[in-house]
Symmetry: C2
Subunit: 339 residues, 2 copies
DNA sequence: TATCAAAATACAATCGATTGTATTTTTACT
DNA sequence: AGTAAAAATACAATCGATTGTATTTTGATA
């Protein structure tokens, strides 16, 4: 089929055995230096390239990580992927990227595909539709290390790399309270997802600490797209004139809200103050600049990659998972700072 | 090593040959329906999963595309990757993503790695340092189809998916001229890159058409990061008070320029009008909203993926490459529209 | 020089699926 | 029933590298 030289060609040319060639190319101490150089020269001469497929089959590894995210083009995820790729590259691993597009069914089929492809490890940030986790059992059953990042599930024994969503939610809300706001709406995401649960819990805790009443009506659950934020804001402005602040569980919805408020000729933060979550680049550009919780996708990605690489290299997944929680810091900008 | 069932286990259990099992699982017409169902049932019973590594070795394919971009987290690239992934997924392919981080050396090593890994096809948007292309020869030499997208190189026989950079540059510049601007600066990127050459050429052509003089000093070449745009704008404001508009070869630099202009208390577009390039989401959020050339990463990605998949499926790379040029349309926003 | 341990290399099985060819079984027709 | 053609299945090599074991070679020592 192809004319690519193999170790057998090298062996034949030098009248030695292919096992010796293989060992020489892998720099095994079992081959004498003289033979090694002879073999390396011949390999060079023939333009030999190792067939990774054959090697992988024999060794049952792929030097590949599988990564599943809801959507690659979301800044948070693309920067997480960037961190994963950089870390994996340094360790000699490649990264297969897949996107669930927030669909459970697709996530399931991707998981199966990656297991079939024998990735050495898997990193996942689950979709908004992922409310049960059976489709992930297959990963563990096949002995493939699995690390969740950001969007995880609350299951004992999993390994996760997260940011401190509770503290983020708490700080964001408390900051709004410090600025004198009393009636704070929270834009939340699907509340089956841990991250949104925890941000909401932080919000509640801050209200409680400062003796502000928790109103069920002040929680608006959507998918937190920009349009969702816009519409949510519209409905607030239509029915309740007491709301003086919004804590949005992500930046995109916050930006939708800002656009809505500006269209209504209201002032930010004087009429409505806003805090977002994620510190996407866009948050420094909108006017007023959006206060938000800094969540470095890059750092999460790097941490998650390091964690899974450690499992792979040690050939052992800890029985009880590890969870690494990264700091989430409030960045105060003009969308919430009253003078 | 592992206890995973193979076709041999199925064969043994049914007292037939493994070749028949293989054919049955691949739905070959050479196996009778009765045997097929028997085999499928047994496979199900044993929890058989095909070993893709073995299959790949034998068939010498990987069902994997390699993608190289300068940086994953740039919106244009992440949306191109999104398009590539979606298209590849539908065709049953996975996508390995690598980033050159604008470094030639790293790009070289990535290319070698992907060739070694035997990807079935490769998509690349070259780095800013990529001024010669020898490291790409190995791709063709190994019979791997290669498609450039966006950042390509001007080499006969390559296949490319591009947008119409010349027209984009021309339209952006002419639009500024129509708005009454007479002294238009152009922020350009490394002029070895075709895309920047072409955008510049479009700029020049528009000036010429409208009998405006081309001034060498009005071309500022940087890497077009946001800081570059900021600094370039600073130096313009410091030395030349006649400049009335900027056409930036990307949005990030344009945004840097806008920030600089606003800091200097000048008005956009009254004092300086600005047009960017790419239509990144951020361009709708900045104030004033940035006029720009719409360049859908998603569409470029999808088109490029379709093109390379066609080469792979047809097992033939056209001798003389194909180049697909997608439309680039001007979007007029407030950063350039004078009333 | 003979002997033995150590070093270097060869042998051969293996990873698991695929596929061209050979053989057996079935089917159809005289 | 006998035979040829067609269908189904079995055999065996192959993809290319890896690795445990066996064999040969080297070299040191008596």
């Amino acid at each position: 089929m192809s004319n690519k030289p193999t170790i057998h060609d090298i062996a034949k040319a030098l009248n030695i055995d292919s096992s010796t060639v293989s060992r020489a190319l892998n720099n095994s101490p079992r081959v004498t230096l003289k033979t090694k150089t002879k073999i390396l020269e011949k390999a060079q001469e023939l333009g030999y390239k190792r067939n990774v497929l054959a090697s992988n089959l024999r060794k049952n590894v792929t030097n590949t990580l599988g990564v599943i995210v809801p959507r690659i083009s979301r800044y948070f995820f693309s920067s997480a992927i960037q961190g994963i790729e950089e870390t994996a590259y340094l360790a000699g691993y490649n990264v297969i990227i897949c996107q669930s597009l927030e669909q459970l069914e697709r996530e399931q089929s991707i998981v199966n595909g990656l297991v079939e492809k024998r990735v050495d490890g898997m990193l996942i940030s689950i979709s908004m539709e992922t409310l049960n986790y059976q489709h992930l059992d297959i990963v563990k059953n096949n002995g493939i290390p699995l690390v969740f990042f950001d969007r995880h599930c609350n299951v004992e024994g999993n390994s996760n790399v997260l940011i401190d969503d509770f503290k983020g939610g708490f700080d964001a809300t408390e900051h709004l309270i410090f600025q004198g706001n009393k009636d704070i709406v929270h834009f939340s995401g699907p509340n089956e997802l841990e991250i949104y649960k925890n941000r909401l819990a932080g919000y509640k805790a801050a209200l409680k600490k400062h003796n502000l009443p928790f109103k069920k009506d002040n929680i608006i659950v959507t998918r937190l797209m920009e349009e969702d934020g816009f519409k949510s804001m519209q409905s607030i402005l239509n029915k309740n004139d007491k709301v003086d602040a919004v804590f949005s569980a992500n930046d995109m919805a916050a930006i939708g809200a800002i656009k809505c408020i500006k269209e209504c000729q209201l002032k930010i933060p004087e009429d409505i103050a806003i805090v977002g979550f994620s510190n996407e680049p866009i948050s420094t550009v909108i006017e007023p600049a959006l206060s938000t919780i800094d969540q470095s996708g890059m750092q999460i990605g790097k941490t998650a990659a390091k964690l899974i690489l450690s499992y792979i290299e040690n050939k052992q997944i800890p029985e009880t998972g590890e969870t690494i929680v990264l700091k989430a810091n409030l960045i105060e900008r003009n969308s919430s700072k009253r003078n």
